[in-house]
Amino acid sequence: MTRATRTRRSRPSRSKPNVHPGRFAALLFSAILLGGCAGGGRPLPAPPPDASGAPGAPGIGSGLRAVDPARRSVAAENGRYEVAIEGPSLLGSGADFGSQDADFGLLIPEDEVVLIFMSYDDPSVTLDMVTAHRRDQVRKNGKAHFEKEERFFLPSGRHRVASLAYFEGLPNEETRFLYSLVVAGAGGPIEVVGSTTRPKNGAKLRQAIMRLRLLGD
């Protein structure tokens, strides 16, 4: 089983990515959580074209390779940002998520950990809109429930307001624990979603997510 974890800069896609459910359960779960714009509140910006369902798209594990440890930042339309990664990291092609930009991965042995970046390139999108959207998606997915949300100044950003929401898995075979960190940015919010199957890895995941830093802060 692939233990790869990935990061991604993208917007939430409307449709479920076409990835193998057995082999890439973690990615599938995350994609479900992230997908769709329905729900209460203002619709989020339209996602970019989703190439993940294109015929002949490579399997997610096929393109993984080790990440240069020195590389930590991602360029996005609304700025550049980086996240600290603990443990071995892997780099995916990004094509599976409809993006050719390289992404980061976080690897925790014996766990399926997923780390995904998204940027909402619209300054009118608020933290409230993104967090409401995320809660709604998780609720509709029915495999985890919203546990709590905190708002604070991002430790790495002087006046950068961040929201960290925690979702806890329901007791079934696909139980996962999920963090959503949404950070207000000048060009629109940036969201990092991380999930793990093991609660004991939650702290590591939270720590990695909380190290998100918008370059220039």
Binding site: G41, E150, V161
Partner: protein
């Protein structure tokens, strides 16, 4: 009654004009003769060389000053102080004011001299306007007005002389030259002269000369203006000069310009101990008693168990039962009336009331010491040498009192036994003689970390019809709340209502139907006063299905906004705020809370803002806490804090999800 015809109207109009003209003439003719301490020397219609220099300067610089937005500028100040042997101080002063625009005439067309008439005489040597064409308009002696310089509650012989320039037009120079002779014989206070060297308008040139005819060791002087060049051209002569001095930059939040503006001080040489002993001796000399004082002391002794309770009761009596009214004629400006006289009159100024407090405290066996305070200096380092001119108030301190190092201001009624907001952190000089006298004598009074304590209780009922009923009770405490309470207690009911309405409009500008607000607790200084009101709003929210509820936390926002400082030039001593707000939401019987809102944990070096949501049965309780301690903020820190608070305010709405079947 028949309407007046056109001819009659013309006749009446003519009569009215004549009457008005007669009134104006009568008013000038009725002008009272000048008082014996004020002499006016008529001008000879000529202007001196300095005035012509000033006029040339104005003509050269006027366009620039106009562009900078000044209505007038001080073109030249010349002061000569002669310390005579008699003992007497003679001050010869010339002020030349350039009028830049019409507004400048309105702002600075009247010159003023303040004089303590019990010891000083004024001679106005020249007062005229020099126009750009060289013509001169002399001041009319009959237009000089003498008024009281103090507040209505202070009866004194300190006067303000107002000299209105005639025919002021832009481009003209107003000139006032006068001499003040001050008698120092048997003056209870050491002499000092304190001169600010910067103003709200530019001063194009200043020159101050001091001629000391007494022993050189008699005089001390010092300045904190690095640009002021002072030289001793002879053993008995000091000349200080400064060319252009920019106007002091203004800022929205200023504790005191006196701490910002450079100054020059001349004073009779004395050290802080000697000054304290001399002023303290004035109080000590008036600590008498009377049967009436003894009776009140006995009432307090028998009615209260310990020194702390007795000292607090004594504070209540002296601050509330002796009203503030000063008789400050002659040396009474600095020498208090006796304790027995003040108690008998039931009125007195700060030093009278302090003397009464000290006398009664000592009769109770409680230590109490008078303390000089400055209401305009909050930084002891700004006091350059020992001088009484730095102080304008007297308070009392006792170790028996519990807060603020036991220091209280007995001039404030309806206030707790504590330092008022205005004196928190003020510079003080301990005048005590006992073992508890503070060393060093010159110090800054304590400044509390939290000066504004606010509590807000909201009950919000969300009905199944979509209506919202809200009851709000908010209380204001701490030193800032106390000073507002003291002012509200003294205000008329109409003024109180106006104050509450202003606050409400500021916090909730969108609500057109302002509710009736009830105020309580004004008479009890031991607890915060509170304001209560209720509102009802139909169709306030969606009362069906699963929805999100957003609530603008108006009072939290109101108080947080008050912490935003827009200063660009000067530091500001921010008064600390502690706010606790609890909002309880009760949903109707078919409703339930689905999701709690986000916990807020915003922390920075300037303070913290927290919010927690909890369920209490079917109710949702939202608790918000703000703690921003008192601190000195530089403009850069203020900008940083402004940005942070702005971001927090964006997140301050209360939010939760609910469902109604």
């Amino acid at each position: 009654m028949r309407a007046p015809s056109g001819r009659r109207r013309a006749v009446w109009a003519g009569r009215i004009l004549l009457a008005l003209a007669a009134l104006i003439v009568a008013a000038e003719a009725r002008a009272e003769p000048l008082p014996e301490w004020l002499e006016f020397r008529p001008g000879d219609g000529s202007a001196g060389p300095l005035a012509h220099e000033a006029l040339a300067k104005l003509q050269k610089e006027r366009a620039g000053w106009l562009d900078a937005g000044y209505g007038y500028v001080e073109v030249a100040w010349r002061t000569q102080i002669t310390i005579e042997r008699e003992p007497r101080v003679r001050m010869h002063r010339t002020e030349m004011r350039g009028f830049v625009s019409d507004v400048g005439g309105q702002q600075g067309g009247n010159f003023e001299i303040h004089v303590k008439t019990s010891r000083a005489r004024i001679s106005i040597l020249r007062a005229y306007l020099l126009r750009s064409d060289g013509s001169i308009e002399e001041v009319d002696a009959r237009s000089i007005q003498v008024t009281d310089a103090q507040a209505p509650e202070l009866f004194s012989d300190e006067k303000r002389v107002t000299i209105p320039m005639r025919g002021v037009v832009p481009g003209a120079i107003g000139v006032l030259e006068y001499e003040e002779v001050r008698d120092l014989d048997a003056d209870p206070m050491p002499w000092s002269l304190y001169t600010f060297l910067q103003m709200a308008v530019p001063i194009a040139s200043q020159e101050i000369t001091v001629v000391n005819e007494r022993d050189p060791s008699w005089l001390d002087w010092k300045t904190n203006d690095a640009e002021l060049k002072c030289t001793s051209r002879a053993a008995d002569r000091i000349v200080c000069e400064r060319a252009a001095t920019d106007a002091i930059a203004s800022d929205p939040a200023i504790n005191s310009y006196a701490d910002l503006v450079p100054h020059l001080i001349f004073a009779e040489r004395v050290d802080w101990n000697a000054l304290a002993e001399r002023v303290g001796g004035l109080v000590e000399g008036k600590l008498d008693s009377s049967p009436a004082i003894a009776a009140e002391v006995e009432r307090i002794r028998s009615g209260f168990a310990d020194d702390g309770a007795r000292a607090e009761e004594l504070y209540r009596v002296v601050s509330n039962q002796v009203r503030y009214l000063g008789f400050e004629h002659g040396d009474s400006a600095v020498v208090p009336h006796s304790a027995s006289e003040t108690w008998a009159k039931r009125f007195g100024d700060c030093k009278d009331k302090v003397t009464l407090f000290v006398a009664m405290a000592r009769a109770l066996g409680i230590d109490a010491r008078p303390v000089l305070a400055s209401t305009f200096h909050f930084d002891a380092e700004r006091l350059l040498l020992p001088a009484g001119s730095y102080f304008d108030h007297m308070i009392v301190c006792s170790d028996a009192l519990r807060v603020d190092d036991g220091c209280v201001d007995v001039t404030l009624a309806s206030s707790p036994a504590a330092l008022p907001f205005q004196l928190q952190g003020a510079v003080a000089l301990d005048l005590g003689t006992g073992p508890t006298t503070r060393r060093p004598r010159l110090h800054e009074l304590p400044r509390r970390e939290i000066l504004w304590e606010v509590a807000i209780e909201r009950e919000v009922e969300l009905g199944c019809d979509g209506g919202a009923r809200e009851t709000v009770a908010r209380s204001n405490g701490g030193a800032l709340g106390d000073i507002i309470r003291s002012a509200l207690a003294a205000a008329t009911p109409a003024d109180r209502t106006q104050h509450l309405n202003d606050e409400f409009n500021s916090a909730l500008p969108a609500i057109a139907d302002r509710p009736v607000q009830q105020i309580s607790g004004l008479a009890d200084p031991s607890r915060p006063y509170s304001v209560r009101y209720s509102t009802e709003q139909a169709a306030a929210f969606q009362a069906r299905g699963r929805e999100s509820y957003f609530d603008f936390d108006a009072w939290l926002t109101f108080h947080l906004r008050s912490m935003i400082i827009e200063n660009k030039h000067h530091p500001y001593d921010l008064p600390g705020l502690e706010l606790a707000s609890t909002t309880r939401y009760s949903l109707c019987e078919r409703g339930r809370i689905e999701t709690l809102g986000p916990t807020l944990r915003f922390e920075r070096e300037w303070g913290e803002i927290r919010r927690f949501y909890t369920l209490d049965g079917d109710d949702l309780v939202v608790e918000s806490k703000v703690r921003i301690p008192s601190r000195r903020l530089t403009p850069a820190q203020a900008a940083d804090m402004r940005l942070s608070i702005g971001r927090v305010l964006e997140q301050s709405a209360i939010r939760f999800d609910y469902a109604i079947d």
